[in-house]
């Protein structure tokens, strides 16, 4: 397929989202049908592009001073787009039921669809400048989704989201300027575009890489800059599930991958002070996130802290700066996406059907909402890394990548990862234990009215649960794809 279809894939949902504002659709159903059709056709198009698309760049236009805006769908982009395009239709299906009782549905779906186009844009961007444009646009299109409820909490959360995201992007901007000034157009090439240290001094390059890591790391919720993510869990669940467990945060990780492996190049960074520094940040964050999740009584916020930890699992792989590390990170990126989205779906279904949002309110719900909690059980097992679910595969590859890198810090990181897995078991299983085996003196009368979520919600959940099992058992195609990317193919 011609590369010009890339532009179609980006613009179709983006424009369709904008058109939804003035469009006169009288019923909620019409909005649903419209959104569903747009999302599904985009996903099909993206998958067609992944499988049959050309690997040529598609330059769009040039700004002054040679800033090139270009789309290029390489293997890494395809991997990320594949995750997005698979999970988006499922989330939209889930959102149809979830948003039934919420206000301002049309606005919600408009921005939601626009965000799809922008995320695809990030995955298809051919150089730093175009990725940066989409990256900023993603902040702008997703902020209205966070503020959706328009109450005090969501306004505050949005404010924090803005401050962190835009402030972080500023750092990323600095790094981008540095690269564009020293590499031709900043087009992504595996292994980096810098051939030698510019200005003769390594320290300049290192500082700018570090700035870029921090900047793009904001969306990946690395430690001191993670604060927006747990706060943003006030948004409606489809947003928390898809954007704040997959699309937005994985865009951050994706940008760090682009920065590390496709712009600065691991060769240049290996052996400098910046590599251990970023790895320490990642290792610390993964421990910190897990420890905070254990302490957090609010269910969705607990899952958000868990996301903080898991994003750093990926970054831990990425910052090893070896091809095994990148491959393991990619694997965890794919698997964590499906696991965490499922966990959020379950939390959302409980929130919508029972109004309970704290872990200590879950007593006995496992008996009433059987499918929901069975799915959450699978998500929990996979997140802890119990075979044969998918989380085990990615954790195993992370551990072996750490061992192969032969770095003392990576060994320590592997140890911390196992402790974090223990903490994961604690925070996931305590909520499950409450749901399935309530304390004897809990309030059973209020359980009578609880009923199972509708098929619109449970079907996406069951598909995801099955997906977790299948990708765990038959992980080799995905692992092969990740290995191919990490080998530079």
């Amino acid at each position: 397929m011609n590369s010009s279809f890339l532009l179609v894939a980006v613009l179709l949902p983006f424009l369709a989202g904008i058109i939804l504002f003035p469009l006169k659709l009288n019923t909620y159903k019409a909005v649903c049908v419209y959104t569903g059709a747009v999302t599904l056709s985009t996903s099909l198009l993206v998958w067609a592009l992944i499988l049959f698309g050309d690997r040529t760049a598609f330059p769009l236009f040039r700004f002054a001073n040679g800033l090139l805006f270009t789309l290029n769908f390489d293997s890494l982009g395809r991997f990320f787009a594949g995750i997005i395009a698979t999970l988006w239709p499922l989330t939209v299906l889930y959102a149809f039921d979830y948003m039934k009782k919420e206000p301002r549905q049309k606005t919600f779906f408009a921005f939601f669809t626009m965000a799809y186009g922008v995320t695809l844009g990030i995955s298809m961007a051919g150089n730093l400048f175009s990725m940066y444009c989409f990256y900023e646009l993603l902040t702008l299109t997703t902020a209205p989704l966070v503020i959706h409820h328009l109450d005090r909490r969501s306004v505050r959360a949005t404010r924090t989201y803005f401050v962190f995201s835009l402030g972080g992007a500023a750092f990323g901007f600095a790094s981008m300027i540095f690269l564009i000034a020293n590499g031709v157009d900043g087009n992504f090439t595996f292994g980096g575009i810098l051939t030698a240290y510019p200005y003769g001094k390594p320290v300049v390059t290192e500082i700018f890489y570090f700035l870029g890591f921090l900047g793009f790391g904001v969306k990946a919720a690395i430690f001191p800059l993670h604060h927006w993510l747990p706060k943003a869990s006030v948004a409606p669940t489809p947003v928390t599930a898809l954007l704040h467990a997959v699309a937005v945060v994985k865009s951050g990780v994706f940008a760090v991958m682009r920065l590390t492996y496709y712009s600065y190049g691991p060769e240049l960074l290996r052996g400098t002070w910046v590599k251990p520094t970023v790895m320490i940040i990642a290792v610390f964050t993964l421990f910190y996130g897990a420890a905070r999740a254990v302490k957090e009584p609010h269910w969705k916020r607990r899952l958000a802290y868990s996301t903080v930890a898991n994003l750093s699992y990926i970054l831990f792989g990425v910052t090893m700066m070896t091809s095994e590390g990148l491959s393991a990170g990619l694997l965890h990126m794919a698997f964590h996406a499906e696991i965490k989205i499922l966990a959020f779906f379950c939390a959302g279904a409980v929130l919508q059907y029972t109004g309970r949002e704290y872990v200590y309110e879950l007593d006995g719900l496992g008996r009433r909402m059987k499918i929901t909690f069975a799915c959450f059980l699978i998500a929990a097992l996979a997140l802890v890394g119990i075979p044969p679910f998918s989380g085990f595969v990615s954790k195993w590859s992370l551990l072996s990548a750490a061992a192969q890198s032969g770095d003392l810090l990576a060994y320590i990181g592997a140890g911390v990862l196992l402790i974090a897995a223990l903490l994961t078991a604690i925070y996931m299983f305590t909520s499950l234990r409450r749901a399935y085996f309530p304390d004897q003196n809990s309030d059973f009368a209020s359980l009578e009215s609880v009923r199972e979520a509708s098929p619109m919600m449970t079907v996406p959940m069951m598909i995801l649960a099955l997906g977790i099992l299948l990708t765990g058992v038959f992980a080799s195609p995905i692992a092969a794809a990740a290995n191919a990317i990490a080998a530079g193919m």
Binding site: V155, G167, I177, P387, F392, V393, W396, F429, F474
Partner: protein, 719 residues
């Protein structure tokens, strides 16, 4: 043939689904059918060649299964034990509500357990081991009483921590040797230069599998989980699941650490402690199933002692290896009988307290014979199968002591072995006498009136394994030796120097010594000290519990105290929050450490109080200064002056509409005036807008700062 091995593992797992969704008779049939098919397949495989099957790339590491003599025998034992418990289950669960969940997870566990035993490499074993741990968790929690929930939590915690540590070990091993395939470990380990790492890996794996086996000091879950689980499940937990832990320990001991004296000493020491401690706990217990559970722990210790000798003896380890294998198999059978008997007792009497159960089994000859067969077997009485394996283990220890020049410690182990054997006899006698000889002062007559205490399938479930015990034990040369011969592929023992004559005087002497020690213990200890006026007394101090003393405080109080302190140091974004909370955490964790006993409690409390007040004071002071700063120097800029006008304006419009509404008689109900509504909407909009613009400007400020930084660097460095 390959498909047979795979179906052995996966067929029960698939069968779990129909078992869950069917009802009543169909459900029972389903379970029985799948267990029977497993037994059929494993029996058929007894006569097949050794082979390996590989499923590449499943779970990314690939699954590899192997069939050798030891695995064939154990597949039969597992399927047999499962079939027996399925015979008992329908009647046991008849009054327990819906048993679907139990059957579902039971079949899953059957597949997973077979998967562990048939695994050709440790990573495959680990995958099934983890599945098994989680599916068997539902057995422990099945009754859902408070005790069961607590025991199940302990079980889960041990399983999760053990699993993670084992994973660490596997990963070290995989990194060091490049494979976890069991048969290749020995050759690779010989070449490996990095022995300490291998030993560390071995210890991690030992931790994981030892936790499941009930090895000291990780045995804490065992005496709690077995009594609360339903009896058929306890039979499996004790008879089969603990053996999967033993299997893992064996896999590394007989391959990775073959002929490694340091490893052998470690296993021998842990095994001895487990053996003695378990027997001691069983001796003091007054609960039928708890006694049996502690007895399991003790017998696991016997097996571990055998494994320890196996490593210590090097080339001449044939006796110890055969003893360990046979004792594993025997113990599976004994515990199936004994727990099934306990299940039948519980089904009728609804209690496990020995005092309540006194005289329960009088006039129930079949139950008595079956229980007696299990008891004599586990006690190691000649002509019963336990005698054969214990004799082999004993000879193994004697040989080890001989090989090491009669070291004192090894003689001590030998004596502890004999004493534990005596204790086994003593507590089994205690159970037997309580159930079948004593008379119940209150309800003896009432108990004897009911002749039908179990239906035919349940009777079958105790009878079949009970018959096996004397059959296997009576002619060991014909049965047991052949089974032991099958173990060579897995255990890699040296040549057997001479055939063992089991009933020689030398060997009978060991059994006799144990018998005498048992008699002394029973009459000297149990009848004199642990009984009063015909009642069994619980004289074990409940406070001596490793879980309550060490593990729970460690995991629930000390570690969160320390980690919580670390996490809170980097906590929320308030200015004083991190500092205050850090102090709080530190003090509270210190308080938790010192505040629990009488000596240091007052001092700890005083320190805690003053610390709290001091940190609060500092915190409030800082908060106050921040507040003052925000109100003065860093004050928010005043709202735009036209806001009031605008409000006024909005209010006016709303007011007009309100008046119109009043005039036209369409006033809004409940005092909702349009004027108020308009003003509210307006202020919300205004605030939101201000918040967003304020932060946008902040972001732009950052952007400009960053750009300035960039250009400064470029200019400074370039010029």
């Amino acid at each position: 043939m390959n498909i047979l091995i795979l179906s052995l593992v996966f067929l029960p797992m698939i069968g779990a689904l129909p078992a869950y969704f069917s009802k009543n008779r169909l459900q029972k049939f389903c379970c029985f059918f799948f267990a029977a098919v497993s037994l059929g397949i494993s029996a058929a495989l007894l006569f097949s060649e050794n082979m390996t099957v590989e499923l590449p790339e499943i779970c990314s590491l690939g699954l590899r299964f192997e069939l050798d003599g030891f695995r064939k025998v154990y597949a039969v034992v597992i399927s047999f034990a499962w079939l027996m418990t399925f015979l008992l289950s329908p009647e046991y669960f008849a009054h327990h509500g819906d048993p679907s969940r139990y059957y579902f997870f039971n079949l899953l566990t059957l597949g997973a357990t077979l998967g562990v035993f048939l695994a050709a490499d440790l990573s495959t074993a680990f995958i099934f081991f983890e599945i098994m741990s989680f599916t068997s968790f539902t057995w422990v929690i099945h009754e859902e009483t408070d005790g069961a929930v607590r025991a199940a939590n302990t079980y889960l915690a041990v399983a999760v921590i053990g699993g993670l540590v084992a994973l660490m070990g596997l990963f070290l091993l995989h990194h060091e040797l490049g494979t976890t395939e069991i048969s290749g470990l020995y050759a690779l380990a010989q070449k490996s230069p990095n022995k300490p790492t291998l030993f560390a890996a071995g210890c991690c794996i030992l931790f994981g599998f030892g936790a499941k086996a009930g090895m000291f000091p990780l045995h804490i879950w065992l005496p709690k989980a077995h009594p609360v689980a339903p009896a058929p499940a306890s039979a499996l937990l004790s008879g089969v699941l603990t053996k999967s832990g033993i299997w893992g320990i064996l896999a590394i001991s007989a391959n990775l650490f073959r002929e490694d004296p340091a490893w052998g000493t470690l296993i021998l020491a842990l095994g001895t402690v487990t053996m003695v401690l378990g027997a001691l706990l069983a001796l003091f217990s007054v609960d039928l199933k708890r006694t049996l559970a502690c007895s399991s722990m003790s017998q696991i210790g016997f097996i571990l002692v055998g494994i320890g000798c196996l490593c210590l003896l090097g080339e001449e380890n044939a006796l110890a290896a055969r003893g360990a294998l046979l004792h594993m198999m025997n113990h599976s059978i004994f515990k199936t009988v004994l727990f099934a008997c306990a299940g039948i007792v519980y089904m009728n009497a609804h209690t496990l307290d020995l005092n309540e159960l006194r005289g329960f089994g009088r006039k129930k000859p079949l139950l008595r014979i079956c229980f007696l067969s299990g008891a004599l077997g586990i006690g190691g009485i000649p002509l019963f199968s336990g005698y054969v394996s214990k004799t082999l283990l004993h000879e193994g220890i004697v040989e080890t002591a001989h090989a090491f020049g009669g070291a004192f410690l090894l003689h001590l182990v030998e004596w502890l072995f004999l004493i534990s054997g005596g204790m086994t006899l003593a507590y089994m006698t205690k159970l037997f006498v309580a159930l079948f000889v004593d008379r119940n002062p209150e309800k003896q007559a009432e108990g004897e009136e009911k002749p039908a205490y179990a239906k035919f399938p349940a009777i079958l479930s105790i009878l079949c394994p009970a018959v096996l015990i004397p059959v296997l034990g009576a002619c060991p040369g014909f049965t047991m030796d052949r089974i032991a011969d099958l173990g060579t592929d897995f255990f890699h023992p040296g040549e057997l120097a001479h055939a063992v004559s089991y009933f020689s005087l030398e060997n009978l002497k060991g059994a006799l010594i144990s018998l005498m020690i048992g008699a002394v213990l029973y009459f000297g200890l149990i009848r004199c000290l642990l009984m009063k006026e015909g009642r069994y007394l619980d004289r074990w101090n409940k406070k001596i519990d490793l879980e309550d003393i060490l593990y729970r405080p460690l995991i629930l109080r000390w570690l969160p105290g320390i980690f919580g302190a670390i996490a809170s140091v980097f906590g929320e974004n308030r200015v004083t929050g991190p500092f205050c909370r850090a102090c709080f955490r530190f003090i509270s964790s210190a308080g938790a450490l010192f505040g629990e006993n009488k000596a240091t409690e007052p001092a700890a409390k005083a320190v805690f109080r003053t610390g709290t007040i001091a940190t609060r004071g500092v915190g409030d002071l800082l908060d106050a200064s921040v507040f003052a700063l925000r109100k003065t120097a860093f004050r928010d800029s005043p709202p735009p002056s036209d806001e009031k006008l605008a409000e006024h304006y909005y209010f006016r419009i709303g007011d007009r509409i309100d008046r119109l509404a009043v005039k036209s008689g369409k006033e809004r109900k409940g005092g909702h005036h349009y004027a108020r509504l308009f003003v509210r909407v307006h202020t919300t909009l205004l605030n939101t807008f201000r918040a967003i613009t304020g932060n946008l400007s902040f972001a732009l400020l950052m952007l400009i700062a960053a750009i300035v930084l960039v250009f400064l660097y470029i200019f400074v460095v370039r010029n």
